[in-house]
Amino acid sequence: MSPSSDRIRLHELRQLYFDELDPSAKAELEARLARDPEAQKRWKGLNLELSSGRASSELVDAITERLAARTPRSVRPSTHQRWPAPQWLAAAAATIGLVLITVPRGAPPDGQSTRTKGLAPAARPACSMRPCPSLEMYVKDKAGIRKGMEGARLRSGDWVQFRYRAEGRSHLYVVSLDDDHVLAPLYPDYRGQSVPIQPAGRHILPGSIILDDAIGPERIYAFFSEGPIDFEQIERAFSDVADPTTAVDIATLPASVAQVSILIEKVP
């Protein structure tokens, strides 16, 4: 049975409990509650459920320690190492087939390609100037080299390398964003300006990334542009993103910037 418009909903009772309603909404809800014995039982139950959440000293210590232990991952200079033989990627790709992570052609089925918190979806697709660039991800672990697909489950110590096709763009910035809203530069691996790339053909990005031990979903974004873009521009564009692990179109970046992304899942 779905929530009906007359019944006092649990969500409304919670807002009343936490005193989050404006005075007129609160007065109206309290009047409805006074007329509704069933809702009054639920209200009583909710008060029992939510009250007395006293924090012990040990609990506060535990949370404080965890907070301190989450060291910023915004710069990872120590995790970048070159694959000793980059030609392995080319050879492997030729034999195992390629997974092309491309920008979808045209608008997504529900007409939405962008999501920013509280705002209507932007109309601009992730690539407004055809042809669209692409980024391929390859993973090297104990089992060997394999293609990386959307939602790939990767582990600490796995190596990741990229191959791109810029389709006329001359600059690239690759970043990752996790569900803690930590934005980390990957290529280049510092907060600065985008790297120049080959505008034509398919090329391997030099170096590789060794994944750290943080777990959870993480989305890797590649921004291809006609001119240099700064990490700060990207950082500002992400500042309002509600769910960083869902692909978003960053409408605040210049129109010439094209974006591709891939979601990875870091597992223990």
């Binding site: 049975m1 779905s2 929530p3 909903r9 649990l10 969500h11 409304e12 919670r14 807002q15 409990y17 936490f18 989050e20 069933e38 809702a39 039982k41 639920r42 009583k44 139950g45 909710l46 029992l48 459920e49 939510l50 009250s51 007395s52 959440g53 006293r54 924090a55 609990l59 506060v60 535990a62 949370i63 404080t64 965890r66 907070l67 989450r70 529900d110 007409g111 939405q112 999501r115 920013t116 918190k117 509280g118 705002l119 209507a120 979806p121 569900d179 803690d180 809203h181 777990i215 959870g216 979903p217 500042s239 309002d240 509600a242 769910d243 869902t246 899942e265 597992v267 223990p268």
Partner: protein, 172 residues
């Protein structure tokens, strides 16, 4: 004369005293394991503290916090998929008891939880906010920053699967 600013410890304690039970309740409901729920609750408060400055008031504080807790637990479950499918079969008394006190239909809540594994994390979150939190589709749309048609589409998909499970019973 201004009151002195709270230290980080004091802020954590104050937040926990106000919202701790809300977060614990959601974590217990989804994780169905008291130890895992306690661990997850602490992690959720870490996330709350780290993202406090980004809270812009688009949703009410309790709704925002509940969303963080829901997403965290769903992400955790997603990384333990096999364990979750086995775990939901266990009967956890205190979860149902909390549901009864708050007047949530425990059968519906259990049923929704059992179905969650079949869906992507976003649809899971939408289903929980709709069927368990009893938020309207408009409220969910504002909370998650997704369009109303997207919310409707995801719920319609959830209902289709749910109806296949229960046949003609108008459960959802």
């Amino acid at each position: 004369m201004q009151a002195p600013a709270l230290s980080q410890r004091e802020r954590i304690a104050a937040l926990y005293e106000r919202y701790g039970r809300l977060v614990e309740s959601r974590c217990r409901f989804l994780l169905r394991d008291a130890d895992a729920a306690q661990d997850a609750t602490q992690e959720v408060f870490v996330k709350i503290m780290r993202n406090l400055e980004q809270f812009r008031g688009d949703a009410s504080p309790s709704t925002w916090i509940l969303r963080i807790a829901t997403n965290h637990c769903l992400n955790r479950l997603a990384s333990e998929r096999a364990g979750w499918r086995l775990r939901f079969r266990r009967h956890v008394e205190h979860v149902d008891e909390a549901g009864l006190r708050a007047g949530i239909d425990p059968e519906r809540a259990r049923f929704v939880r059992q179905l969650l594994a079949r869906f992507d994390p976003e649809t899971q979150a939408i289903a929980i906010h709709y069927y368990v939190d009893e938020m309207t589709q408009e409220e969910i749309s504002a909370l998650l920053g997704r369009s109303l048609p997207t919310i409707r589409k995801r719920l319609a998909k959830f209902k289709r699967v749910a109806r296949k499970e229960v046949g003609d019973v108008a459960f959802i």
